[in-house]
Symmetry: C3
Subunit: 145 residues, 3 copies
């Protein structure tokens, strides 16, 4: 880490946290291509509701998002802590609160399905020519409120 | 955007996100003047519970906040993503969870009214002589938990 | 504050916010030594559920965390606003949503105990030789959802 000063570390942490938030926003907007583009070509993603079955590859991730039933969702992200491991690699953890409804048609706000799902994402980030991307994003759940 | 380097963009994003959080804090403290001062003189604000009726002008925004019934509220803000459009303009979206009670007198904590309201603010920020301010802040609701 | 430029202030705000998030993460991981190390030697901490009885001293804080019954918790932190007072002192406020269960053994996710506790931490930060640390961290609760 001698190559990075504190300002460079802060910039890398900020860029990775921004990626975490973009994932949530694009996911909630059902922009499947946009979500997939946040991963490296060989990136892996495990959904919080299916933590033991990561999907590997940007294309497969896009297809998974595209082919699932539509849902009005909000991925509420908090508590992100990123540790920069080298100028091109970082790890992080973020907390998730997930609320949703299958009703994507009614005027908003719609009543959410019972249960707020509290979980987390454990991420590995790498710096690519297009900026920081998810190398690995492992979701899991801890509590149901 | 050729005029801004990545550090300047980060600083602008950070300043705008700080504004988003100050809005929440000052609103929850019922500091009406303080909230209004976060807007430009001709700024517009639509409440999440009344998204189709923006209030225009800093003075009108202050009066609206001042004249509504007191409420113990928490505007819980997450997921802010700011896009800097030019050195003096930015756009952003933030998620809101709103919880509150009309009981502003009892010892805390007090029981919140049923319903956590999940929504968002879509913001336009401009850089003024006093720093970044809200030019337009449009609230809306998506889900009720 | 004439000694600090806006970039230095941003870096200090970021470092203090990171401390707020580390406190939540380490607390939820039940890393008592890790949590205590975020305070100065003479630091003070009042739990949100016991706001009038601050514990003073890093060692006493560690013992309190170590000796309480285990709990699966999530300290969900949002809205942090830090005001840098001098190059070595800052103040801040963060919102807390607290969810938990006494069931630390069952496969996750587990059902949380009823009640989401909404509160805040009011912090005083100081810059030490090891970086920014909590000098005083006063928790309190406002609403129960």
């Amino acid at each position: 880490m001698t190559e990075m000063n504190s300002n460079e570390r802060m910039a890398a942490e900020w860029a990775c946290e921004r990626l975490v938030r973009q994932f949530a926003m694009l996911n909630d907007e059902r922009d499947h291509e946009g979500v997939a583009a946040l991963f490296t070509q060989d990136g892996a993603f495990a959904r919080p509701f299916d933590p033991d079955n990561p999907i590997v590859g940007r294309e497969n991730i896009m297809v998974m998002f595209r082919d699932r039933p539509p849902r009005l969702s909000r991925h509420i992200m908090t508590n992100t802590v990123v540790e920069v491991v080298s100028p091109t690699e970082a790890r992080g953890r973020s907390y998730l609160m997930f609320v949703s409804s299958t009703d994507v048609e009614s005027p908003r706000p719609v009543k959410a399905e019972p249960g707020v799902h509290v979980g987390q994402y454990d991420d590995t980030f790498v710096l690519t020519e297009s900026g920081w991307r998810f190398q690995k994003r492992l979701g899991s759940l801890s509590l149901t409120v």
